[in-house]
């Protein structure tokens, strides 16, 4: 039990225990609905639990007839027979307890499995804004801490609670049968035990919360320090950090010692109160026996029960805490499951067009392999996919009071390159996030080949758009797997070809395992630039008609960028491309450059026109005038 007094920790840990679920009934129902398919198993668990508990109680009660009827009268034939019966009771009890444990583990593991999958599937369908408003640590903690607690409850707490209560009731009943008078004595001690356990529980709860609070501070401090360790070294800040840490560490030691002490002290106190009851029973039982109201066998059996009856009290309190923590965790899990998924009313879907030869870019590269697409309208008609994107009077804000985009109108004709420039926070990335409907606009319309994008099924819309994001994220797996992420049925050759075009081939070949090098931890073993090259290769493989490049080459030096320029040009050819970049070299060849400031387009035109205008664009890229 003492092990439970120490906090369990995972990513984004939060204090466990002593939590109050908000809606116990609703949550219980919900958990029960997960057990619906295991009704038979649950029934068997309850049955075997009852059998094993009853067998345990019977075994103790059997002491009375054994002593009174066989041992004292020296009836050894009867004793042998009685022992066989007792042996059978023991055996049944053990088998029942095995069945119960095994079934419980199976049921709870499978239940958790389904719940976990449900939550993950749900997570995949959530709006991006949900991820913006919840930290990774917080969401992670649902999958780790909260599920741990629910699992502990299903696997252990519930059965222990049930058997504990059953044992308690059984003991009380059997003690009453054996001797109501002696039970009165035990009852006094029991009441005392419950009272003390409650008192200590309250106190220990207080200390525990205090400990958890400081633990949060300590962990936060450690994380921040280690995250910025290089900074600490550069600034010679080691001693100051050590001093701060030492302080916190000492504070935590004190708090944890008090909490640990109290949580532990409950055991010897309760145990020995039980012993006092045992002593009192021995004395008064002895007296009763002398007076002839009681037999030695009854006394023996009663003493057994008086030892057993105290144990559940301790257990019930601690398991109840677990159950509450688990319920609170389950509530958080269900709360996430109940989030509205991304709205997707679009009925227009993307289909591969039957007429291959019409693709003007058929000769462009091996990757496009003559694939061409069209929009399939609900009425069965089709519109060829060209890549014509238009914004008219679009307004957008992430939070109501802070307008991010104001009255944005723009158009990109098929095959054009549109560049967005402007300072951080001007709204460049936001515009691209609206095209693929990561977020939905408030006013205005965005059309794609003349179709309102809200009418297009999101999956289809996103399939038609390729993205290379500023922060490159890679997945655990080989480099090849990561390139293939763009199109799952791409062959190895196609992936290598894509890597070559992205200029990633040379560095990949130099890795010890080449394309089969395993990337771990979001590609921590690669440089930012290398990761971007892989992301570009990934976009190549995806081969979409419209591309969004959000600072796609920001971490690649200009010379390497030059090397991949050819590849980039090939990537852009025949596609509509939206480019965000702060490098002149990247944007100067765009068909149109839009300069954004505070969510508005303040200048538009091609490179020459904008330079001639001597406006914001001119200032941004010459650094002659001082702005900001």
């Amino acid at each position: 039990m003492a092990a439970n007094s120490t906090p369990k920790r995972g990513p984004g840990s939060r204090p466990i225990g002593f939590e109050k679920p908000k809606n116990l009934i609703q949550t219980t129902k919900r958990i029960l609905s997960y057990l619906k398919n295991s009704k038979l198993q649950v029934f068997l668990v309850i049955l075997s639990l009852i059998v094993s508990t009853v067998c345990g109680l019977l075994g103790s009660y059997f002491l009375k007839p054994l002593i009174d009827q066989y041992i004292v009268p020296k009836n050894f034939r009867g004793l042998a027979l009685a022992l066989v019966v007792l042996g059978i009771i023991y055996l049944v009890g053990s088998v029942a307890s095995y069945i119960q444990t095994r079934l419980t583990i199976n049921v709870s593991q499978r239940t958790i499995n389904v719940m976990r999958r449900d939550l993950f599937d749900k997570m995949q369908s959530l709006e991006l804004s949900y991820f913006d408003s919840h930290s990774h640590g917080e969401l992670m903690s649902r999958f780790t801490n909260d599920f741990d607690n629910v699992q502990l409850m299903l696997e252990q707490s519930l059965t222990q609670l049930f058997s504990g209560m059953l044992t308690f009731v059984g003991c009380v009943v059997l003690m009453l049968i054996l001797s109501p008078l002696l039970f009165l004595l035990t009852a006094i001690v029991l009441v005392l035990m419950i009272f003390i356990s409650k008192k200590i529980g309250e106190k220990s709860r207080y200390y525990f919360q205090h400990q958890q609070k400081i633990l949060g501070e300590l962990d936060g401090y450690i994380e921040e320090n280690i995250g910025g360790l290089k900074e600490v070294k550069v600034f010679n800040h080691e001693d100051a950090e050590k001093a701060t840490f030492s302080n916190l560490n000492e504070k935590f030691r004190e708090a944890a010692t008090s909490a640990n002490f109290l949580a532990g002290a409950i055991m010897p106190i309760m145990g020995n109160l039980n012993n006092i009851a045992y002593a009192a029973t021995s004395v008064f039982g002895g007296v009763l026996t002398i007076l002839g109201h009681f037999t030695i066998g009854s006394l023996g059996a009663f003493l057994q029960f008086s030892r057993q009856v105290g144990q559940p009290i301790n257990m019930i309190t601690s398991q109840l805490n677990n159950v509450f923590a688990a319920m609170a965790g389950a509530e958080r899990i269900f709360e996430m499951m109940d989030q509205p998924p991304e709205v997707d009313d679009g009925k227009i879907i993307l289909v591969q067009s039957s007429s291959r030869s019409t693709d003007p870019g058929a000769d462009r590269n091996v990757l496009r392999s003559g694939r061409s697409w069209e929009w399939k309208l609900p009425d069965g008609n089709t519109v060829p996919l060209k890549g014509d994107v238009r914004f008219s009077d679009v307004n957008f804000s992430y939070v109501p009071e802070k307008q991010i985009l104001k009255q944005i109108s723009l158009y990109a004709k098929p095959g054009q390159v549109i560049a967005f420039v402007g300072s951080t926070g001007a709204g460049k990335t936001t515009i691209t996030n609206l095209i693929n409907r990561f977020y939905d606009i408030e006013d205005g319309t965005i059309t794609y080949d003349g179709i309102d994008i809200r009418k297009i099924k999101k999956d289809s819309l996103r399939h038609s758009l390729g993205m290379v994001l500023q922060d490159t994220h890679l997945f655990t797996g080989t480099i090849l797997d990561n390139i293939r992420y763009g199109r799952l049925d791409a062959t190895d050759e196609e992936c290598v070809e894509a890597a070559k075009r992205a200029s990633a081939h040379s560095f990949i070949s130099r890795l010890p395992e080449g394309y089969h090098t395993v990337i771990s931890g979001d590609g921590a073993n690669l440089s930012q630039g290398q990761r971007q090259l892989i992301a570009i290769a990934r976009a190549y493989v995806a081969d979409p008609p419209v591309m969004i490049l959000d600072e796609a080459t920001s971490s690649i030096d200009t010379r390497t960028e030059r090397l991949i320029e050819k590849g980039m040009k090939a990537l852009m050819k025949g596609r509509t491309v939206f480019v965000i970049a702060h490098r002149l070299s990247t944007v100067r060849n765009a068909n149109a450059i839009l300069v954004l400031e505070h969510g508005e387009i303040i200048e538009r035109g091609n490179h020459e026109e904008l330079i001639a205008q001597k406006g914001r664009y001119y200032q941004l890229y010459t650094g002659i005038n001082q702005l900001e």
Binding site: L83, L91, I105, I226, E238, A256, F261, V283
Partner: protein, 582 residues
């Protein structure tokens, strides 16, 4: 391995002795109970001696009260010792980590270091506490209960000696097998959590590529694999307690049978039989405790090993021996930098002995502004990291003020150098507190001055709380460019002889960046400045430009010189269409 952790008990070592005696006393008190009870049954009742019974009863209550005292004290001392131990261990770890060099930090990932300081340390604390509470108790209970049992009836004790080996062997077998299974479970759990974390971080990629179904499938597989192995381990573990119960019950049956016969022949009292059964129970319980301890030890072994790995890591950059006191400079004067035939390679498995820098030779005169330019992976950052000894050269020398950096006291060296890292970090706290990292006792005037040079003063003043604005962890509430400027200001506040900017203005727009460089020129006349940059506009007015290519110096000179003589430089210029403004 565990003896290596012993010293961390520190001043709580004496608690071990206290705990030892407290546990013995506690166990004896507790075990006296059945013995005394048997006396009531066998002597008091047949003799109808109520006085005797009461006396024995009072003794029992007294023992129970004493036991509460012993037990509670034991809890106190064990809590104190285990938490004290954890605090000492944590502090040693923390201090060790503070002494790590960059190479050491690279070796351990941030997340793994955090785990070692938090959950691994907690695991060790639990182990110590459980040792003091259970490990001490179990063997004593076992021994004492056996002694009592034998003293009651030696012949009957034979049963115990038969039962124990069966129990021990049985549980050991199960636990051993289960251990392997649990390792698999843990591995799969880590894998599953990895998938979740990855999906959280890269949710935009997943959505952009419409890969939800693919990810769900991946998750389903990992999830099912985890459940399978957890059930397998669980099935095995669910055998433990029924087996134990069966052995215990079998022994009880035997005791009742043979003991019953002895009671029949009068060689044993009924009370003694009851007492004996109680001891049998205690013996079995303590044997079970042993198996718990084995599981606990197996778990903490992994944590312990991870902790020791950190403690055993020797920081590969150590302060120079203060042997030649005179030769060790006490401060940095001019800020001259010289590289002599420097080679460098990272000591990691992946580097495969490939040099990151080869044959680097150059000198930077005091007060100069020197720019370093070159492609990704050309070794720019590595090169400047050698100056404050964040890494040590593999070959050759780096000299500051004509003294090898390895002869400096690390504090002296690093306080003379202001450095803005590529991946810069701000800490939670106010802007002022963050800036004070550079110089703890700087006054407002100094802070303002540094912020002005870094072109940060204006935007700071524009914030509602100005310099008192509280930054979230990692400086989340300021933009990338603002963060970089704060970091520059922080470094300037150090008033360093040498200032190094490692691509630290990449998020600052060109105009502001020009103003920063202008301010450097005017206000930091006596500071040697090294700037790593990607943009030609950031480097072209430097006193000297170093062009790095694939770890080698390709050219050194001014913008004009290099533009005419250096192909790589010209190529970089052309790629950025630098001709535009002029």
């Amino acid at each position: 391995m565990f003896q290596r952790f012993f010293p961390y008990l520190g001043k709580y070592k004496k608690n071990l002795i206290f705990c030892f005696f407290l546990v013995i006393s506690d166990v004896i008190c507790e075990l006296m109970m059945p013995l005394l009870m048997s006396k009531i049954v066998d002597n008091g009742i047949p003799q109808k001696n109520i006085r005797y019974i009461s006396l024995v009863g009072i003794t029992m209550v007294a023992l129970a009260l004493a036991s509460i005292l012993f037990g509670t004290l034991n809890m106190k001392f064990s809590a104190e010792a285990s938490q004290g131990f954890a605090a000492n261990l944590r502090e040693s770890l923390f201090n060790k980590v503070q002494s790590f060099s960059f190479a050491n930090i690279d070796h351990f990932s941030t997340a793994s270091l955090v785990t070692r300081l938090t959950s691994d340390t907690t695991q060790m604390q639990v182990t110590v506490m459980m040792c003091l509470r259970i490990l001490l108790r179990a063997p004593m209970m076992l021994v004492c209960a056996m002694v009592f049992a034998i003293s009651i009836n030696a012949r009957l004790s034979v049963i115990i000696f038969i039962a124990i080996p069966i129990l021990v062997v049985g549980t050991m077998l199960v636990v051993r097998t289960a251990e392997r299974l649990f390792t698999t479970v843990q591995k799969r759990l880590d894998g599953l959590n990895g998938t979740i974390r990855e999906n959280l971080i890269a949710i935009r990629v997943v959505k952009a590529f419409v890969r939800a179904r693919h990810e769900k499938e991946k998750f389903k597989k990992a999830n099912n694999a985890l459940t399978e192995s957890a059930i397998q381990a669980g099935n095995l573990i669910s055998l433990v307690s029924p087996i134990m119960m069966l052995v215990l019950n079998g022994a009880t049956l035997a005791v009742i049978w043979f003991g019953g016969k002895m009671v029949g022949t009068g060689s044993m009292g009924t009370g003694q039989l009851l007492g004996f059964i109680s001891y049998l129970m205690q013996i079995m319980i303590s044997t079970m405790m042993f198996s718990m301890i084995f599981i606990l030890f197996a778990r903490s072994q992994a944590s312990g090993a991870r902790i020791l790995e950190v403690l055993d890591t020797e920081p590969d950059i150590r302060n120079s021996e203060p042997a030649g006191q005179d030769s060790q400079p006490h401060s940095m004067n001019s800020g001259k930098i010289e590289f002599r035939n420097v080679d460098f390679r990272y000591n990691t498995a992946e580097s495969e002995g490939k040099n990151v820098l080869s044959d680097i030779n150059f000198t930077v005169e005091p007060g100069e502004i020197t720019a370093i330019i070159g492609g990704t992976g050309s070794g720019k950052s590595t090169m400047v990291n050698l100056i404050p000894r964040l890494y040590d050269t593999t070959c050759g020398q780096v000299l500051v003020d004509d003294t090898d950096v390895r002869n400096y006291d690390l504090d002296t060296l690093r306080s003379g150098i202001g450095m803005v890292l590529q991946k810069n970090v701000l800490f939670s706290g106010t802007i002022r507190e963050n800036l004070l990292w550079g110089c703890a006792d700087a006054d407002n005037e100094k802070i303002k001055n540094a912020a002005e040079i870094a072109q940060a003063h204006e935007f700071i003043e524009g914030l509602p709380d100005g310099y008192e604005t509280v930054l979230g962890e990692g400086g989340v509430n300021v933009s990338g460019g603002q963060k970089q400027r704060l970091c520059i200001a922080r470094a300037i506040l150090k008033n360093p002889r040498i200032l190094i900017l490692d691509d630290s203005t990449s998020a600052v727009d060109t105009a502001t960046e020009a103003k920063i460089r202008e301010a450097f020129r005017n206000s930091l006349k006596n500071t040697t400045v090294l700037i790593i940059a990607q943009r030609i506009s950031s480097v072209k007015d430097a006193d000297k430009i170093i062009v790095l290519d694939d770890g080698k110096i390709s050219g050194i000179g001014t913008h004009e010189e290099l533009y005419h003589s250096n192909d790589i430089y010209r190529e970089i210029c052309n790629s950025q269409q630098e001709g535009l403004a002029s």
